[in-house]
Symmetry: C2
Subunit: 258 residues, 2 copies
């Protein structure tokens, strides 16, 4: 509960943060999350969740471990194989990686859908606006004409032609109930979560145990590398990934610093 | 960064939370921190810090480990031996354990001093008011006529007749710079921090690696048990505690689940 990682200043503009700064990534993260609060897209729960992520990332050594890179590559292959991939975006995702989500969607032909645990019209629209400012053309989630079975009504809403009919869904920083419900619908679910023991990570077809700031651009990078791969090659990437092994490796890294 | 530990509801009043609830402590914590935001004493940084604490506590098994109980007992002995013990209170401490801090001060004859990393007159007063509502009679920190050497001016302010002249200080959830500066002043410093690797925990004479919600009442309990102990007994309790061994045990518990 102390204040490590130590972050000396809160910059007003992220262009002011020198990439050479030893805590560049932390400064950028903190700047984006603060800005998210200012524009009404990061909630109180989002700030607490951000803190949990900081602690796990600190124990992980603030680096993309090999099993997380394998997971990002498998996620990219799933996206390229999908008929209808969708990236689900909540408040923290929008605050932390708005431009990176748009790039991933562009690189893989995925839709972007805003999906909030604490849904208000105001926050939905603020998030959609923020994504559009970062280049998103079509943002789903406002129709809310579909439903995920097994969740109470307020939590279940999705777009029928978005997450509702998607075959592959990326849900970064997702609530455990919803992650399990999406998985129960038979969708291929890619989760980004720094806690390998969380229900979201455990429910995922592909759990990426990594900081979202590193993970989303990493999926995009793999998707670009795999752009010309044929279906057999993509299937081989998907088949070579084992979720349980990856989660065990991540837990070892966090618990033992390996 | 996901939302575990899962907390189903946010109660309006803490008396509504049944003590038998399997997640009683989490619900109570969440309720108090939310209330802290509502009354202007918990900051954005405080919410993020709360999240970091949740993650470490989760890995620790949400329990007081044996070495943390030993540390709480040593802290109680230090307080009873002190000429002038002071409990330093920041926004999260005031939000999470206002009544518990007052009980500890009463049981040990300690002063209570408000001390904020991001100091504003408004927050100082809101915190002092909150402590008074929980039974505090004298709340220090508003005079700010003393200084901790080695910190920049805004961070250095303390009351001359409070932390300034204290021989034993309890600083729960303290910033690393200030923990080190207080220690450099030769004070006996008791820190409560869930991260055994933090600079605050490392700088402490007595680091208590435990959730503040459990740790503060635990120090009070030990102080009451030790109330009739003579100086030699209290010295024996103090001398039998080794900070380095306790930090190692805590790190093992977090890293390996031991």
């Amino acid at each position: 509960m102390s204040d490590e990682p130590q972050i000396p200043v809160s910059p007003d503009d992220e262009t002011e943060i020198p990439e050479s700064h030893p805590r560049y990534e932390s400064l950028l993260t903190r700047h984006r999350i603060e800005h998210g609060v200012d524009i009404g897209i990061t909630s109180r729960q989002g700030l607490i969740a951000q803190g949990r992520g900081e602690a796990y990332d600190y124990l992980l050594g603030e680096q993309t471990i090999e099993s997380a890179d394998d997971a990002a590559r498998a996620a990219a292959a799933h996206f390229l194989l999908a008929d209808q991939p969708v990236v689900s975006v909540n408040g923290n995702v929008a605050a932390l990686v708005p431009g990176e989500v748009v790039e991933l969607a562009d690189a893989t032909g995925a839709d972007i859908e805003v999906n909030l645990f604490n849904r208000t019209r105001e926050r939905m629209e603020a998030i959609a606006d923020h994504l559009r400012e970062h280049g998103a053309e079509d943002v789903k989630g406002l129709a809310a004409d579909g439903e995920i079975p097994g969740l109470d009504h307020a939590r279940a809403k999705v777009d029928a032609d978005g997450i509702g009919s998607a075959d592959v869904v990326l849900v970064p920083l997702e609530d455990g109930d919803r992650a399990q419900a999406l998985s129960a619908m038979g969708k291929t679910e890619v989760v980004i979560d720094l806690n390998p023991l969380s229900r979201s990570a455990q429910a995922a077809s592909v759990p990426i145990v990594d900081n979202i700031i590193r993970a989303v651009p990493n999926i995009t990078r793999h998707a670009r590398e795999l752009r010309d791969a044929d279906e057999a090659e993509l299937r081989a990437v998907v088949d070579s990934f084992d979720a349980e092994t990856a989660l065990e490796a991540a837990e070892r890294a966090i618990r033992r610093g390996e």
